[in-house]
Amino acid sequence: MWTVAQDNLILLVVAVLIGLAVALWAFRKSGSRADLTSDRRSDGPEGNGLQDEFAAAAQDVAGEILGVDAHPSVPGPSGPPDNLRLLKGVGPKMVAQLNEFGITRFDQLAGLTETEVALLDKRMGAFEGRIARDRLVEQSCYLQRDDKDGFEAKFGKLGG
């Protein structure tokens, strides 16, 4: 039998490689971040490219220098409020803090750019830095799509 295996060694290696290639094709895509990023950015008002990132940065710096709010508002809610406590790391007080900024829905959080997150995080008081640290934008991307399986696979069981 060993003779047969030796005789077919090249075929067996090819078969293993086919298996690896198919696994890459079948499994890797769903686990990658590409979809998540594209979803998030398609909803965001800026940050779709390097040019937009520069524009946003310039807007922020100008706002700081002029002492005005360069990012006057997060896009308003497009429907009834979501249960933001489903997000990992978010409790009632943090929900109240987010609500103060007009954030009541997952799609609002999911649409935030990195610059907006940084600005909001600075104003979160006791929760400063938590939006980025707890990856609320990423979490919201899943929940706004109602992708609970994807959420739980990445962040663990849903809270609330």
């Binding site: 039998m1 060993w2 003779t3 047969v4 295996a5 005789d7 077919n8 090249i10 075929l11 067996l12 290696v13 090819v14 078969a15 293993v16 490689l17 086919i18 298996g19 690896l20 290639a21 198919v22 696994a23 890459l24 094709w25 079948a26 499994f27 890797r28 686990g31 990992k88 790391g89 990856r135 696979a153 990445k154 962040f155 663990g156």
Partner: protein, 144 residues
């Protein structure tokens, strides 16, 4: 496309590769030719005359059928003394030895193509499993 469909496509591709390896590329034929030569050398080493060695060719198989006028002792040996069957069976790669004039000569044989396909399918599944370990497992990140 569902993952199961992708896995089936991969399996079909592997089976086609196994068939091409066995048939058009000629590896099946070459293996049986080699086994035939080695079996004939073994038979020649027993110094018995008139013993025929024939491997199944349609379909190709690792089953060898011996023919000739050897008696039971010459065929199967006795104690530590090996018979012709034992010598041929000792060829690495031979799966079964039969005698043409014995009742089991007409039993079904396992085609080499089936063995090749099965081993290729197993190798494919191993590759798929390794790939799953590398890319398929869901990783939990934080908030455990």
């Amino acid at each position: 496309m569902p993952r199961v469909h992708k896995a089936i496509i991969g399996l079909l591709l592997t089976l086609v590769a196994a068939w091409a390896w066995h048939g058009p590329l000629g590896h099946g034929e070459r293996l049986i030719d080699r086994l035939q030569r080695q079996a004939e050398q073994k038979v020649a080493g027993t110094e018995l005359t008139g013993i025929g060695v024939r491997f199944s060719r349609d379909p190709l198989a690792r089953t060898v059928t011996l023919s000739g006028s050897a008696n039971d002792l010459q065929r199967e040996g006795l104690g530590s003394q090996m018979g012709v069957s034992d010598h041929v069976r000792a060829v690495d790669g031979v799966s079964e030895v039969r005698w043409a004039d014995e009742p089991d000569a007409g039993r079904r044989i396992v085609p080499l193509l089936l063995e090749t396909s099965a081993s290729a399918a197993l190798a494919y599944l191993i590759g798929l499993g390794l790939g799953w370990l590398l890319w398929g497992r869901r990783r939990r990140e934080g908030f455990a």
